[in-house]
C-alpha cells in the first residue's frame, strides 16, 4: 500500500484537476486506537517527537497525567486523561490518544486557500505541505477536532502526518510501533474497521460495556483514525471528542454556495455595467440646459 502515499486525491486551493484520483487501486490506510487497552504510558507521544524530530516544548501540570492541555505545532500526539464518573458513582480514568483524524472529507483542506498547502493522498492521509502554506490559519477554523496548530517561528501550520514518510516505505506510523499494549493498530480501513467492530462486540458481550462501539464519524465522511470506546454514546467524555463532528457550516457556506453566488454576481455586475454603457452611455452636462424638454434629453 506504499505507492498510494505518492498519489494525490485532493489539493487545497487548486484550480483544475488533481493528479492521482482514480489512477491506482486505492487502499485506504487506517489507524485504530483501542482506548480500552490504553494504559496512558505516553510511549506514542515520545515516539512521535523522536521520529518527527520535533523541538521540545514545556509541559504543564494541571492536576492530571496529561502532558499539556492540547496538541501543539511541535507536539502532534497527546494522550488526553479524563477522570470520568460513572452513573454508579465510581470513577474511571479515560485515556484517549489525540491527534489528526485524517478525515475523509477534511475541513482543513476545504478551508485552505493556498494551492497545494494541504493534500489528501489516495490512501486517505491528509498532509500539510508547509512550503506552500501561507500561514492564514483558515485550516484551524475548518477543523472540527482542534488539530492544526500555528507555529509562531515558522509562521506555518503543522499537525500529525500519520507518518506518511514511514507509510511510503511500507512501515507503520511511529506511534503504532511504540505501543506496548497493542492498543494501536495500523492497516487498511476495512481491516481496521473489522478489527474494531469485533473488539467492540467483545466489550459489549463479554466485558459488560453495553455501550461499547467504534468512533468513525460520518459527519466528516469517516476518518482514517478510528477509536474503540467503552461508551460510544458519550465521546465527549474522552477529552472533548465531538459526538457528531462536521466542517463548520460557515466554512461550507463560504466555500460552496457563497463562492458561486459571489462569482456570478461579480461577473453579472461587470456584464450589466458593460450593457448599460452600450445602451445609455455617459451622462452629458447638456440636459440641464433644457429643463423643460426632458424628452430631448437623451436619444437612445
Amino acid at each position: 500500500m506504499s505507492q498510494e502515499t505518492f498519489e494525490i486525491r485532493a489539493i487545497s486551493g487548486h484550480a483544475g484537476s488533481v493528479p492521482g484520483a482514480g489512477v491506482r487501486r486505492e487502499f485506504e490506510v487506517c489507524k485504530l486506537i483501542d482506548t480500552t487497552t490504553c494504559i496512558g504510558c505516553k510511549a506514542c507521544e515520545v515516539a512521535c517527537l523522536e521520529w518527527n524530530g520535533l523541538t521540545f516544548s514545556e509541559t504543564s501540570f494541571d492536576n492530571s497525567y496529561q502532558t499539556m492541555p492540547e496538541t501543539a505545532w511541535n507536539y502532534w500526539n497527546l494522550i488526553k486523561f479524563n477522570e470520568h464518573e460513572r452513573e454508579d458513582g465510581s470513577v474511571t480514568l479515560l485515556m484517549r490518544k489525540d491527534q489528526c483524524m485524517h478525515c475523509e472529507e477534511p475541513g482543513c483542506l476545504k478551508a485552505c486557500p493556498a494551492d497545494g498547502a494541504i493534500v489528501q493522498y489516495v490512501n486517505g492521509i491528509v498532509d500539510f505541505q508547509q512550503a506552500n502554506c501561507i500561514g492564514c490559519g483558515y485550516c484551524i477554523t475548518g477543523c472540527p477536532f482542534n488539530i492544526p496548530k500555528f507555529s509562531p517561528t515558522a509562521r506555518k501550520v503543522f499537525k500529525c502526518t500519520l507518518c506518511n514518510d514511514r507509510v511510503t516505505q511500507g512501515l507503520e506510523p511511529a506511534c503504532i510501533k511504540s505501543c506496548p499494549t497493542g492498543c494501536l493498530h495500523f492497516g487498511t480501513k476495512p481491516e481496521m474497521k473489522e478489527l474494531a467492530e469485533n473488539r467492540a462486540a467483545q466489550l459489549r458481550e463479554v466485558s459488560g460495556f453495553a455501550n461499547a462501539g467504534v468512533y468513525d464519524p460520518s459527519g466528516v465522511g469517516g476518518t482514517h483514525v478510528i477509536y474503540v470506546l467503552h461508551d460510544a454514546s458519550n465521546p465527549e467524555a474522552y477529552g472533548g471528542l465531538p459526538k457528531d463532528p462536521h466542517i463548520p457550516w460557515t466554512v461550507r457556506l463560504w466555500k460552496s454556495p457563497l463562492k458561486w453566488i459571489g462569482n456570478l454576481a461579480m461577473a453579472g455586475g461587470l456584464i450589466g455595467l458593460a450593457v448599460h454603457y452600450l445602451r445609455f452611455g455617459p451622462k452629458t452636462e447638456e440636459p440641464e440646459e433644457h429643463p423643460k424638454e426632458p424628452s430631448q434629453s437623451k436619444q437612445p
Binding site: 502554506c133 501561507i134 440641464e288
Partner: protein, 219 residues
C-alpha cells in the same frame, strides 16, 4: 454643509480640497490592494494575483496591515464627510427617480446637493462594511490566538468577512463605473479637485447654486 467649495479665479469650481483628495486616494489605493489580495484568497482561479503581488505568503502578511490603513482612511472620511452624508428629505425623491438617473434622463431627477443619495449610500455602505471587515478581519488575523472554547468567533468571521467584502465589491464596481465612464469630469475632480460650472450645474444643482451664492429661488 461645511465643505470648502469655492469659485476659482479661472471660473471653475473647487469641489474637493486637498485633504479630501488625499483621504480618498488613501482609501482607494489601500482598497484596491485589499481587493486584489482578497480575491486571490477567495478563489483558486484568482490565486495567481497573489503571486503577481509578491507571493501569497507576503500577501497574507501585508493584507491585514493595509486593512488597518483602509480603516484609518475610512474613519478619516467619516470625520470629514459624515455630516454631509446625512440623509435628507430630498434623498427619497432621488431614489424614486433612480430609473431616470440610470437611463440618463437627468432632467427628471430632482436637484441634489453636494452628494446625491447614491453617493451617500456608497459612503455608508463602505463605512459599515468596513467596520464588519475590521472586526472579522482582526479575528482572521490571529486565528491561532482564539481559544477552542471561543471558536465560534472564528467560525463567524470566516463568513462575515467575504460577505461584507462582496457588498463592498458591488459598491466599488458601481463607484468606479460612475467615476470613470459615466460622469466625465468626475475623475478630474477627485484628482485635481475642480469641476466646470456646467458639470456642477448638471449633476449637483443645489450645491452649485449655494457655491455661487444663489440662495434666492430662481424666477
Amino acid at each position: 454643509m461645511n465643505d470648502q467649495a469655492r469659485l476659482l479665479p479661472n471660473g471653475r469650481i473647487l469641489r474637493y480640497v486637498f485633504i479630501e483628495r488625499l483621504m480618498h486616494w488613501t482609501a482607494a489605493i489601500s482598497y484596491v490592494y485589499l481587493l486584489l489580495t482578497g480575491l486571490a484568497f477567495w478563489s483558486p482561479w484568482l490565486f495567481w494575483i497573489a503571486t503577481v503581488l509578491g507571493g501569497a505568503t507576503i500577501s497574507r502578511e501585508i493584507h491585514p496591515w493595509i486593512g488597518l490603513l483602509f480603516v484609518a482612511a475610512t474613519i478619516w472620511m467619516y470625520q470629514v464627510w459624515a455630516d454631509q452624508m446625512k440623509e435628507t428629505a430630498l434623498d427619497d425623491q432621488w431614489w424614486h427617480a433612480l430609473p431616470h438617473y440610470i437611463k440618463n434622463e437627468d432632467a427628471l431627477v430632482p436637484k441634489v446637493g453636494r452628494f446625491n443619495a447614491g453617493q451617500k449610500s456608497l459612503f455608508w455602505g463602505f463605512f459599515w462594511c468596513g467596520l464588519l471587515l475590521l472586526v472579522s478581519g482582526l479575528v482572521l488575523w490571529f486565528p491561532q490566538e482564539i481559544p477552542w472554547s471561543w471558536r465560534y468567533l472564528r467560525i463567524g468571521a470566516v463568513i462575515v468577512h467575504p460577505v461584507a467584502a462582496l457588498l463592498t465589491i458591488a459598491l466599488f464596481m458601481i463607484h468606479l463605473y460612475m467615476g470613470l465612464a459615466i460622469e466625465g469630469g468626475a475623475l478630474h475632480s477627485i484628482v485635481q479637485g475642480d469641476v466646470s460650472q456646467s458639470w456642477a450645474r448638471a449633476f449637483h444643482r443645489l450645491w452649485y447654486e449655494r457655491v455661487l451664492g444663489e440662495s434666492a429661488p430662481k424666477q
